[in-house]
Amino acid sequence: MNVQKIRKDFPILARKINGKPMVYLDSAATSQKPKQVIDAVEKFLKTSNSNVHRGIHTLTIEATEALDHAREKIADFVGVKDVGEIIFVRNTTEAINLVAYSWGRLNISKGDEIVLTIAEHHSNFVPWQQLAAENGAILKIVPVTKNGEIDEIVFKNALTKKTKLATFFHVSNILGTIAPVQRLTLVARRLAPQAVVLVDGAQAVPHLPVNISKIGCDFYAFSGHKMLGSAGIGVLWGRREILEAMPPFMFGGDMISTVKIEKTQWAELPLKFEAGTPNIEGAIGLGAAVDYLRRLGMENVRCYEQELTKYALEKLSKIEEVEVFGPKEVSKRCGVISFRIRGSSRQDSNNNILRANPSIPLRPSALRLRLEEINSVSREVSALYIPAHDIASILDSEGVEIRSGFNCAEPLADFLGIGPTARASFYIYNTKEDVDRLVLGLRRVQEVFGSVGKWDSRRKNKNNNLQTHHPTLLHT
């Protein structure tokens, strides 16, 4: 893979941030777009733009053909033979919501079990949490091991005859862990014969060779914008017999075959689930993105990113204060590196506030205005670390763009007791020089936040000054 050549395809990489050449390390949030994708979208809008599946004029036929062609390419890219099983949605979130609303509400009821992991993205957590809250289904949450892998023993024990859904990430957006999805699916089939298996592939399809047929799951969801496509186009793949039995998620145009006053007949797959005018140019752009990745070869993409990740982990391990989350072995992970940096510990303030023992309750008459329940125990710990937001802010001033926060996986942060984290993530256009710039930037972060010793000496000086101003207790 010739990365310098690849970089030339991404116009945005020429940008400067705060006067410095940009280093983009937030591809797990969204990838940048090559000119091949931008051109494909532009060409369509300039020459063939029209609505699809409507009328018989030349433009509409061209647009419909372009959309169908994109769907075929995408199906082939992820190892799907039946193109009708590829449903265009906005993104992974919408794909999973479609399953939760249509299949979930029909098939999961009170007492049924949903098995998922603690490391799910909110998009594969909240829809099931809400379904369970609504109808009394039981959420069984599988933890991750110390190495950041799904705890397969707990996963096995969680599966029962009552399990209606088993769902897990393919690649964790925080830990970078690659889940053994084929094995997990097989285990679910054996121990939970009633269960449908849904895999969240948002972080996998952009970075790994993915063959959905080989995984053997029932649903697989991914987003276009993380794999060089534009935002607003994603894919839900579902097994045909399951999709056929599901009611539509949204009603309207495009998803019908006939509409009479008393009755409507649904369209065939995939249109049954694609109500309204779809994101035509988004799908065409995603088709071009798939062409681009195909040309590179997903094996090569994986190989290159693994090498880059190995380099980054080595470099980061040399900064003593940096703690990296997720598997130690690069073979088990993708180029998503979440980390935190130990700083100096917070000193108690030296004023005269009454300090409450946590076990002493507040005066009951105190009015408490709460926005939400807060698990503050784990978050207080984060005062020992340089706050992730500040890391991202200072790196930004150095032209290095990373993500900070809970990265849409707050339950995992609470489980690990780590609070918000900083996250650097790579893609095909990143280089070892980018990693070096990250490391340099982190040195700058450490400089700004100083060391414990520096703070102590400063405080001492301040106190000395204070004494010279108040020489009231002099005895002669």
């Binding site: 506030i353 009454l354 942060a413």
Partner: protein, 125 residues
């Protein structure tokens, strides 16, 4: 790098009024869902004024420093006056150049002050 001035970092490292007022009259939690920053403010009132204030929580250096500075500023002020507290005034207190992305961090404690209104009428003892 103006944002990370020594004064800000001092307040982060050694926040003023950090802790809980045990016999607080009012406790307000505020969260910035964007970054997970969280503060809890504890207020005591006397004759319509804030007689004591403290805060706990965790967040970035900017939101902690802003909470610390603001807690110093509001002590002894009347709730009525604080209703007029503007974002500009808070930025003045912070005294640094704040990038748009970090305004939410600076304004996290201001959101708390804004919600003081909800306690209206119960502050007289």
């Amino acid at each position: 790098m103006d944002l990370y001035r020594e004064e800000i970092l001092e307040h982060w490292q050694n926040p003023q009024n950090f802790g809980k007022v045990i016999d607080a009259d009012l406790v307000i939690d505020q969260v910035n869902p964007l970054c997970g920053d969280q503060v809890t403010f504890y207020f005591k009132f006397a004759r319509g004024r804030i007689s004591d204030v403290s805060f706990t929580g965790s967040g970035c250096a900017i939101s902690v420093a802003a909470s610390s500075m603001l807690s110093e500023f509001i002590k002894g002020k009347s709730i009525k006056d604080l209703e007029k507290l503007t974002g500009e005034k808070v930025l003045d207190l912070i005294g640094g150049l704040v990038a748009p992305a970090r305004l939410k961090c600076v304004f996290l404690p201001l959101e708390v002050i804004r919600r003081l209104r909800l306690y209206n009428g119960k502050t007289e003892k």
